[in-house]
């Protein structure tokens, strides 16, 4: 079947409309700080049968529902997009990080997968009609699918949320990312087997052959392929035109891996995903290359895929409130409880564990990819697919606010201004370094019931190494001690106290900073933040001249 010139024209117009709508809605959603993928899906719903098709059916049919050959062309592109999405997703899976994060990551990811899988499987197996089973003879596979759909986590949404909350580069951020990566790996493995069980792809191999071939493929790629790619990548990056050479290399291998897994009977996406992991693990692969591949896929192919979802399904006629509600409730219960418990048993505090649970709850694009593949394979009804899309949107949109709420007390959100309390800021008449330090320690010890002698000995031990008179009228005595929270007090001396400062100016603002012994980076960060505040001489003069404590606090916060 060949495409006629008219088919090609309509196909190109359809693609252009899809890309334009995706961009417009994606950007609009970014403006209100929401994932652009949500905008892309909305774009599909608006230009698809749900809205545009209902309001202007003739025009809709002219652009999108014109001929079988253009449908095949669009279908081919969206399939390619899914394979690419999984390839880039695999590129970012860092197995070493999973091993490095140890027990907590393992508990979080394993319990965070097993628990939602179990409740999804049991619900779908025992109440298949409530969850909208399409073919009752596929009850077991349907239950396995629902379990997997509930246990998956969307790495891109998780990464975005961590970035927006400014906790990406923190222990909790690493833990969530590592757990999400592990989740991704197992989730796609299980889902590929489910598709294999449906027998939609491959050449009719026996299930034992499929499982053996898959395991051999995984082992080869992760043990040997990874090492081979690691040797080849520096050669390509250095000797062949950049970035063309490396981009070609990544996509060629990705498509070959996809072709192999499709051939043996598990879906093409899995091959691309495993190849992505094998390539992405290379220490030689430049960060710039990773970002370039992401840009290439997410600017063109991913939007086409997400818009195409809205084109395939009518979200109004396929909307079933009960199924949507069941999926949303099961999704929240499964992930928040599963991952939360895993993190808690792995050693995290209650609030942190809950934050991790909500962080891991975002399903985003990955859920939709999973849903569309199940829909194409005839495993689920459109009503279930719509419920999955809505569940993915609800879980993704709610992830950041919930995480933010539970992470309020998290160490990384601590900054100097947040530590200021009026009763721990005072004017002093003392005239010696030691007595002002003692006064500050006494204030903190009384307020937080700390051991005065222990703190004094630690602060003075630090003071003996080198004076903490930092200059510009600031002195910053500090110590790392066995406490769980940061403590902070300020003494203001109008006369000034000799503190052996480098600039020989007397200290007029003396800040005592006590930080937990097991958070050394926190101390460095806070010292650096305070030092930066004291750069502007004029502002410091104004600060010292503050009429009262409230005025001082206002001036200090504005530094």
């Amino acid at each position: 079947m060949n495409l006629t010139p008219e088919d090609i024209t309509r196909f190109l117009i359809a693609i252009s409309v899809m890309l334009l709508a995706a961009k417009v809605f994606g950007e609009l959603l970014r403006l209100i700080k929401q994932p652009s993928v949500v905008g892309e899906i909305l774009a599909g719903i608006i230009i698809g049968p749900t809205v545009f098709g209902t309001l202007a059916p003739d025009m809709f049919n002219t652009i999108f529902a014109n001929s079988k050959s253009t449908d095949i062309a669009i279908d081919g592109i969206t399939n390619l997009a899914v394979i690419m999405l999984l390839l880039v997703s695999g590129l970012e899976v860092n197995l070493s990080l999973v091993f490095k994060q140890g027990k907590t990551a393992l508990y979080t990811s394993v319990i965070g997968m097993v628990f939602p899988f179990a409740i999804g499987f049991l619900a779908a197996y025992f109440f298949p009609d409530f969850l909208g089973i399409k073919d009752p003879s596929l009850r077991l596979i349907f239950a396995l699918f629902v379990g997997t759909a509930l246990s998956i986590t969307a790495l891109p949404v998780v990464a975005r949320t961590l970035m927006d909350l400014n906790i990406f580069k923190t222990q909790i951020g690493f833990l969530i990312i590592a757990s999400a990566m592990f989740n991704d790996l197992i989730g796609w493995l299980v889902f590929s087997f489910i598709l294999g069980m449906l027998g939609q792809s491959g050449h009719g191999f026996d299930i034992s052959v499929i499982i053996t071939s898959t395991l051999v493929f995984i082992a080869f790629m992760l043990l040997i392929g990874r090492k081979i790619f690691n040797k080849i990548i520096p050669f390509i990056q250095n000797k062949i035109s950049y970035p063309g050479g490396i981009l070609n290399f990544i996509f060629i291998l990705g498509f070959l891996g996809a072709a192999f897994t499709e051939y043996i009977g598990i879906h093409a996406i899995f091959g691309a995903f495993i190849v992505g992991i094998a390539i992405g693990d290379s220490a030689h692969l430049k960060e710039q290359t990773r970002e370039m591949v992401q840009q290439f896929v997410t600017n063109i192919f991913a939007p086409l895929f997400f818009v195409s979802i809205g084109l395939r399904v009518n979200f109004i006629t396929s909307f079933d409130f009960v199924i949507v509600l069941i999926f949303v409730v099961l999704a929240f219960a499964g992930k928040v409880i599963g991952c939360g418990l895993g993190a808690y048993w792995g050693g995290m505090k209650k609030d942190e564990a809950l934050a991790i649970g909500f962080g891991m709850n975002s399903r985003g694009a990955m859920e939709i990819v999973l849903g569309i593949l199940a829909l194409q394979a005839g495993l689920i009804h459109e009503r279930v697919f719509v419920a999955l899309v809505i569940m993915a949107l609800v879980t993704s949109l709610s992830s950041a606010p919930f995480m933010s709420y539970f992470l309020k007390k998290f160490k990384n959100s601590i900054n100097v201004n947040s530590l200021l309390t009026p009763d721990l800021v005072f004017f002093t008449d003392t005239d010696s370094k030691e007595s002002v330090i003692e006064e500050l320690i006494r204030k903190l010890s009384e307020r937080y019931k700390l051991d005065y002698s222990y703190i004094k000995s630690e602060v003075m031990k630090r003071e003996a190494i080198i004076s903490t008179g930092l200059g510009n009228h600031l002195a910053l005595p500090h110590a790392k001690i066995k406490i769980s929270e940061v403590h902070f007090a300020i003494a203001i001396s109008k006369e000034g106290i000799e503190f052996d400062s480098l600039d020989e100016k007397p200290a007029k603002i003396i800040i005592l900073l006590l930080t937990p012994f097991d958070h050394p980076e926190l101390q460095l960060r806070l010292i650096s933040e305070i030092s930066k505040k004291f750069k502007d001489e004029e502002a410091i003069k104004e600060l010292i001249d503050s009429a009262d404590i409230n005025n001082f606090i206002t001036n200090f916060k504005s530094l």
Binding site: G26, R30, P35, S36, V37, V88, S89, L91, E92, N94, L95, S96, L97, F99, K100, L155, P156, V158, A159, R160, L162, M163, F168, K169, G173, F174, I177, A178, A180, M181, L222, L223, D281, A283, E287, Q288, R290, E291, M292, Q294, Q295, T298, N299, A302, I465, I466, K480, F517, P520, E521, L524, R525, I527, S528, S531, K532
Partner: protein, 276 residues
Amino acid sequence: MFKKIGLAVTFSPNSKALLKETKLYSDQFAAEVIFIHVGSKNDSIEARLRELISSGGFAPENINIVWGQGDPAKVINKKCIENGVDLLIAGALEKEKVIKYYIGSVARKLMRDPVCSLFILTEPQIEAKPFKKISVQIDYSYESEILVNIAYQLAIKEKASEICLIREYEVPGLAITVYDTGSTDETEKTRKIWHSEEKEKMDVFINELNLTEIKVRGVCLYGKEGWEASNFVKENNSDLLIMSAPSKKLSFIDRIFQHNEEFIFKELPCSILLIK
């Protein structure tokens, strides 16, 4: 700094150089030395060993040899524990052949599961050369402060020209945030912010230590831990890298999915001092 030094002594080509180096460090630290030999004990071997050890500059009456039989790495570790050794000195090839790397040579086995601090010399010399550039892999922890203090004391003794503190940091998954914006501007900006935060922390860390006799500089590198340090040490021509010993025994799986220490152990960029 170290009170008792252990040296696994064999009749290998670089034994004499290792003995000379050990003599130098035992004098520097005023430490006692015990010699560990893995093999069966008989008069002839003992006489040859004593002769070899004496050629390293050790007084014959002070030569204390402990004997053991079995897997060399296990025996050496066992004898170190039994004798309270706090620094074990050993020689190692910069790079092992592929199979040997995965199976593990004696030196690599010792590095992967050290029972005390371990000094690995890649090129022991009969005329021992002092270390000129010492690098230290740090993470700002209390253990890092100990590493830097050891490096500082050693640098003073060796009259080194600089100590370089290496801080590596990486945020896996950062590239995937491009997914949402389609642009690398934000990741670039974020990385710059992180880098300047790291530099500020490094400056405070160095100031806090107040090390005045040797030039101390800090470098912050974005990338995989161990891999970046290894590359930097090579480019910087450092002749000694001081790092923390692995917190738990490194297994075969760590060689498959390499991280931190294994990136360094795979191809030693220079001599290594692992502090336990």
